[in-house]
Amino acid sequence: MRRFTSLLFAGGLAFLLFSLVATLDFGDPPMRIGSGILAQAPAQVGTANIVTAVVLAYRGIDTLGELSILFAAATAAGLVLARPGRAVSAPKPGGFVLRVGADLLLPLLVVIGLYIIAHGHLTPGGGFQGGVILAAAFFLPLLASPGREPTHAGLSLVEGLAGGGFILIGLLALWQEGAFLEPLLGTGQLGALLSGGTLPLLYLAVGLKVGAELSALLARLMGEGHDVGD
């Protein structure tokens, strides 16, 4: 019975979505705001990647809210998992090839992550994507030699500074231009690395924050896995 009702519910949901979708014309989005942003963004914001203009300029406060949700989730996970004074049995480190490979990959991944963050306003990339690569870079050595303690203090410092920097740039714009997170410093030349005003700085803050948060989260989950799995 339970199985039947569950399947009925899922099927009904799919039918509802299908009938909603059937009323739309494919390839002709009903929202007009997208066309407006596409027409105005290159002159107003000056980023070649218009998704970045939406994320950081037109919907900047939403991005701040998203960052706070990520922060709340990471903090809650840390709160749930944290138990002081618990002895973590140090697991065996990985083999030689694994450890050296991880150490070799670390600088390369950091460079790629920073590159993707720095070109977020020009190419399909940005703070979130690059931040995840940064988190992977710092998590890889931990995977190869699990005994190594992650530096939670340093990660929290980076995270706090990045989050504070994001809000500070927003407040500076509020003071200068009268709107929170309004892009400053002019638009620059479209397509140049130094263009888009404060948007690359904001994306750098986002990237550092996402990277620090995710690597702290992964390190916590991994530290937990040792004595649960057996």
Partner: protein, 143 residues
């Protein structure tokens, strides 16, 4: 034979949502419920991106002074970027909770979890063990 591409794309996105919802309702194991949630999220993200598609549209990135009229809608893409990151946070929190449940109560399938929680509540309430004749009758159909 030409198959129209739209029904396939929509069926993929909506099918992922339906599979995820059905999985969440049907699975017994906690980890599978989290995986089903991730599937449903992927479907919802796909549906959002599809909603911004424009016929013959290109990615909303200006290359060498291209015109913006032929680009797809950038707003759903920015929203999906947001949704993906939030999804990661939610999944990490769910897995952290699952780890704690496993450590404190043992099983993370639905039935075992309910039994363990009821035994825990009974113990704290000072009720006798289920085998004892002194135990008050539980409501039928609960289990």
């Amino acid at each position: 034979m030409m198959l129209a591409i739209e029904p396939i794309l929509y069926a993929g996105a909506i099918g992922l949502i339906a599979i995820g919802v059905a999985g969440m309702a049907l699975s017994r194991h906690g980890f599978r419920i989290v995986l089903a949630l991730a599937l449903a999220e992927a479907g919802a993200n796909l549906l959002l991106v599809l909603g911004g598609f424009r016929e013959g549209g290109v990615a909303p990135i200006l290359v060498g002074g291209g015109n913006t009229a032929s680009m797809v809608d950038p707003v759903p893409q920015a929203m999906v970027l947001t949704a993906i990151v939030i999804g990661v946070g939610v999944q990490a929190l769910a897995i952290a909770l699952l780890i704690q449940v496993k450590e404190h109560l043992g099983p993370i399938d639905r039935q075992g979890l309910r039994d363990a929680m009821e035994a825990d509540i009974d113990r704290h309430a000072g009720l006798p063990l289920p085998e004892s004749l002194d135990r008050p009758l539980s409501r039928e159909g609960e289990r």
